[in-house]
């Protein structure tokens, strides 16, 4: 009898512990391990489609936006910035942020996955709490992202994060070559993010961009390597930016901090607001 009573007590105690254990609402074992620092693989550039050279991205642009792109290339060849707007240190925005110019960290939590990119403090919040799209969104460079975890192989563990991002503001380009996104900022970005099946230290992001500058959705596969023993850098664009926009012209700073032309024969800025007798 005593033995049975003891066993009953122990069973009840075990049940209490089990209940408390079950109340730890976030079981990280259900999610993939995306911890650590992720970088572009060595020898991979910062272009949008890393399977193609910078100069041959073959973006499926409409005729109108192909012309804009060509004019942009000519301006860049002459020393301008073309349609790459980031020379003023505005963020890359989506989808360009996923070029991961500087390292990235991903933090998975029950209701949101944070994507932290070490450049211009670009931060994505991918909401996975089942929320609807906001009725009155405020456009932003990084957009508003809603995601859903999927267990594709049925092993009881999530392995894929599907994401849709909307409500973007501009201007934005796909990469430094200036491949433009439409000025209407109606871009939708869809992603499938997952670890490589053969190498858990490789993360893939299959990114599909739907945009009115394109003739069709444009899908690229981006990959990142996990870095052991990471060092986190602080990349502050304004600290070392050598470009400045005055009026409709972009100039450069010389090594001694003075204004200089960015293009051949570029006129100096209009100084009409200065007291001319001080020159």
């Amino acid at each position: 009898m005593r033995d049975q009573a003891s066993m009953l007590k122990m069973t009840l105690a075990a049940l209490v512990v089990l209940a408390n254990t079950a109340s730890w609402s976030f079981d990280e074992t259900k999610y993939p391990d995306w911890s650590g620092q992720w970088r572009r693989p060595a020898r991979i550039g910062n272009q949008w489609d890393t399977s193609k050279p910078v100069s041959k991205q073959e973006a499926p642009l409409t005729a109108e936006y192909q012309a804009i792109f060509e004019a942009n290339r000519a301006d860049q060849a002459a020393g301008g910035q073309g349609t790459d707007p980031t020379y003023t240190c505005i963020p890359d925005g989506m989808p360009r942020a996923m070029n991961v110019i500087f390292p990235m960290e991903i933090i998975i939590q029950p209701s949101v996955t944070h994507v932290i990119i070490e450049y211009l403090s670009m931060l994505r919040r991918i909401y996975t709490d089942g929320r609807p799209w906001p009725a009155d969104p405020t456009p932003s460079f990084m957009g508003y992202s809603i995601g859903k975890w999927i267990d594709e192989d049925g092993d009881g563990r999530y392995d894929l994060l599907e994401v849709e991002t909307r409500d973007l503001k501009g201007p934005r380009a796909f990469d430094a070559s200036g491949i433009p996104l439409h000025a209407d900022n109606q871009t939708i970005v869809k992603e499938r993010i997952y670890l490589d099946k053969a190498n858990a230290n490789v993360l893939h992001d299959e990114v599909t961009t739907i945009d009115h500058a394109l003739t069709r959705p444009w899908t690229v596969l981006k990959s990142y390597d996990r870095v052991p023993n990471p060092i986190w850098i602080e990349a502050i664009c304004a600290e070392s930016n050598q470009l400045v926009r005055i009026g409709s012209e972009i100039y450069m700073f010389s090594a001694d901090g003075r204004l200089m032309p960015a293009k051949k024969n570029q006129p100096p800025p209009d100084l009409k607001y200065f007291n001319q007798s001080r020159k």
Partner: protein
């Protein structure tokens, strides 16, 4: 016998759940979820971004500055009164760094076993407070935010952490200022910050950051209690703010200028000379 079997079965059932779910036991940490906005005493003179939120900015902060750095502050304000930037490069979108980055906007805290993240936004970087027991690195790369190591404490012995003690060291990048008057930290960038983060004992939707600055511009350590209120909305709106988006300051050489409404250069100070255009061909003027 049947009771023993049941007990063993329950134990076996528990083991995988208990062992695998131990990786991060969120119940051991205070609930810092949500959006936190700094609490400022209303009606005080000056901007809201300041070190001591209970006092006016600038001179009103009554910072325990050395005589030398009191003069740096006065010089900064005098330059700003004439249209200059003073000791405040943050106006041109440089990062504010520590401690100013704890005085602005809205914050989010993410508590993991080995790191507590403070998401700041804007021109300032994120803070990573490493709580994995690591030693101080032999060399620290200069940053505006500094390098932070923290330790969770269970001060009231409940089995649950209640305080995060943090030390942040440099070398820092600079110059850094506490607020937009250019209230200065020492240009040697050797500041040390010690912080205690804890939820208010009577109001768990108020977070304290008791922050002490140790800096060679000060005559003594300077401690203030910064408090933040949690937004009751479980799905708060996170604003995206980038200083460069619409900034009208341009620094050319050592001079600060403005951009007019049409984007042309204009003086920031009375009788300010235009920039030196020696690198432009005279024929293209």
């Amino acid at each position: 016998m049947s009771y023993r079997s049941s007990f063993i079965s329950i134990l076996l059932m528990m083991l995988p759940v208990a062992s695998t779910a131990m990786a991060h036991d969120a119940s051991k940490y205070p609930d810092l979820k949500g959006q936190w906005t700094i609490i400022i005493t209303p009606g005080l003179e000056g901007q809201a971004v300041k070190f001591d939120p209970t006092k006016p900015w600038g001179r009103g902060q009554e910072a325990p500055l050395t005589a030398e750095y009191r003069q740096v502050h006065e010089d900064s304000m005098a330059d700003q009164a004439k249209g200059g930037l003073g000791n405040y490069p943050t106006a041109t979108c440089h990062a504010g760094g520590m401690p100013r980055m704890m005085s602005i906007g809205e914050y989010e805290y993410i508590v993991e076993s080995d790191t507590t993240y403070i998401l700041v936004g804007g021109e300032d970087h994120y803070r990573r407070i490493f709580t994995d027991g690591r030693p101080w690195p032999a060399e620290i790369e200069p940053t505006y935010a500094g390098y932070s190591i923290g330790k969770w404490l269970d001060e009231d012995g409940t089995g649950r952490f209640s305080v995060l003690e943090v030390e942040t060291r440099g070398p820092f990048k600079g110059p850094r200022a506490y607020d937009a008057t250019g209230l200065p930290l020492h240009f040697d960038n050797q500041s040390i910050f010690k912080e205690r983060f804890y939820l208010d004992k009577t109001e768990p939707n108020i977070l304290h950051d008791m922050i002490t600055v140790i800096d060679h511009a000060l005559t003594r350590p300077w401690t203030v209690d910064k408090t933040y209120r949690r937004n009751p909305n479980p799905r708060p709106n996170w604003r995206e703010f980038y200083c460069v988006d619409g900034n009208v300051h341009i620094v050319i050489g050592k001079e600060n200028y403005y951009l007019s409404a049409e984007g042309l250069l204009m003086p920031a100070k009375k009788d300010q000379a235009p920039p030196d255009l020696r690198y432009f061909k005279k024929s293209s003027k």
